[in-house]
């Protein structure tokens, strides 16, 4: 159902032979995954979206929050077709399955260098977490989607670490300044603690004239530190999840087994450097 490629390069040119078009699409980078919807699918999704339960924001958040960025459910309420002329615009797409333009298209954009996690383009939202799972599962291709992070809209001060920090949370422009916690773009209690740990240990080493400690990328603590320090035009806060760990060399279907192996590998790697 989904197909990859950028919105602007998908459509078959007027003069283009089918074979050339196919070849061109086939060679496109996989940084976007496109989920085409037909009319019926769109209408079902739309009905669920506009009637879903939203989170009540804190007073201090309400004041400014919608200034730059409208939640998808609010945009949807402006009219049944508003999304089809906005973030779900099908113009420029030809569904390889039907060779016709779909009724609407949801685009997923690659979110990490490994290409293991994808964000839903334009879907910033205030729906409750449970509702996000329920409503977005109506999008073709996402029926069994695993949400590694839910959409949020809330007050959150954070710096563009992907540009500013190295993988020890140290300011590149001034090695005597570190950032730690949610302000670095790690998200969550335990994640904040983990960045405090990395910074604490590194400051000790720096003062003792020792080398910096770069935690292995296959540990969760190291993967988070690396995630936030990796150049990323669309930098967004991130919580611990298995999607940011490098993949195992083998394919394992059972998620529990797979996560168990990833976790074993992480603990082993951590013990090795301790």
């Amino acid at each position: 159902m989904p197909f990859t490629g950028n919105r602007y390069d998908q459509e078959r040119g007027k003069e283009e032979e089918i074979e050339d078009w196919e070849k061109r699409l086939g060679s496109q980078e996989a940084s976007y995954i496109n989920l085409p919807m037909n009319k019926e699918e769109y209408e079902t999704f739309y009905k669920e979206l506009v009637s879903a339960e939203v989170v009540t924001l804190h007073e201090f958040e309400k004041r400014e929050i919608f200034e730059g960025c409208m939640p998808i459910e609010i945009m949807a309420k402006r009219g049944e077709d508003t999304l089809r002329f906005g973030p779900l615009k099908p113009v420029g797409f030809t569904d390889p399955r039907t060779t016709r333009r779909p009724y609407a298209v949801v685009q997923l954009r690659q979110d990490d260098v490994n290409g293991t996690i994808y964000n839903l383009v334009g879907f910033q939202t205030n729906l409750k977490y449970g509702e996000q799972k329920r409503v977005f599962s109506h999008i073709p291709g996402l029926a069994n989607a695993e949400f590694v992070k839910y959409g949020v809209m809330h007050r959150n001060t954070y710096i563009n670490s992907s540009e500013l920090l190295d993988n020890t949370y140290c300011l590149k422009k001034n090695p005597n300044i570190y950032f730690a916690g949610q302000i670095t773009g790690v998200e969550g209690y335990v994640e904040s603690i983990s960045s405090g740990m990395v910074v604490g240990l590194n400051v000790v080493n720096k003062l003792q004239g020792k080398e910096k400690i770069e935690f292995p990328k296959n540990t969760m603590i190291g993967a988070l530190a690396n995630y936030i320090a990796t150049p990323n035009e669309k930098f967004q806060p991130m919580n611990a999840n298995f999607g940011i760990l490098p993949e195992l060399g083998e394919r394992i279907k059972d998620k529990k087994v797979k996560y168990g192996k990833l976790a074993d590998r992480a603990i082993e790697a951590l013990n090795a450097i301790k």
């Binding site: 989904p2 992070k149 603690i193 910074v199 604490g200 996560y259 976790a263």
Partner: protein, 197 residues
């Protein structure tokens, strides 16, 4: 070399960093603006206040956050140890009594002889890029290392100065994020994956 580290913010990250540094015999000055000033979400005098849910999420090895906690325990995390000690029954999750948790962390930090708590807002006027200051005091060289750990509700003045330090467009005040899904859970109906028609 006479060493001292300044940490701004006595929240979860700031307290963990302070403990790890003090443990090695290095002096820490920990600035915490409470109780003189509170963010919109903080209300309690203690350090390491948990502002929302009392859950630190799953403890399971096969859960990403469970794994992270396991790693932190291996590294002797003070905060996870305090969470373990003040946990309340919550199935597979690590949930804490938030009051007891914050009290315990505060006690551990306060009684540490290498940590000095300064209850004052740090405004960051002195933050600057470029050569770090090295101070000579009584013939000894101090290397000033600073850790900014002021959290999602960093005070306004400091936030302004951080954006001066980092560049205006590199500090964000709101998080408006779309959901993220794992690729393997997307139904990539093979016939159409990169192979039109």
């Amino acid at each position: 070399m006479n060493q001292e580290v300044t940490i701004i913010g006595g929240g979860l990250a700031g307290c963990e960093a302070a403990y790890q540094i003090a443990k090695q015999g290095i002096k820490v000055k920990l600035y915490e603006m409470k109780p003189t000033k509170f963010s919109e979400a903080h209300s309690n005098e203690n350090l390491a206040e948990i502002v929302c849910s009392n859950s630190f999420k799953s403890n399971l090895h096969t859960n990403a956050c469970g794994l992270l906690k396991e790693e932190l325990r291996l590294l002797d995390s003070l905060l996870i140890k305090c969470a373990d000690e003040t946990s309340v029954p919550a199935g597979q999750a690590l949930a804490v009594d938030r009051e007891e948790f914050a009290k315990l962390v505060t006690k551990k930090i306060k009684e540490n002889p290498n940590i000095e708590i300064i209850n004052q807002e740090y405004t960051g006027e002195g933050l600057c890029i470029g050569n770090s200051e090295e101070r000579i005091v009584n013939g000894e060289k101090y290397e000033n290392i600073m850790i900014v750990a002021t959290g999602p509700l960093t005070s306004d003045t400091l936030a302004k100065n951080i954006s001066r330090l980092t560049g205006e467009d590199r500090l964000y005040f709101y998080d408006a994020a779309a959901p993220i899904v794992s690729k393997e859970s997307i139904d990539m109906n093979i016939a159409f994956y990169r192979k039109p028609l």
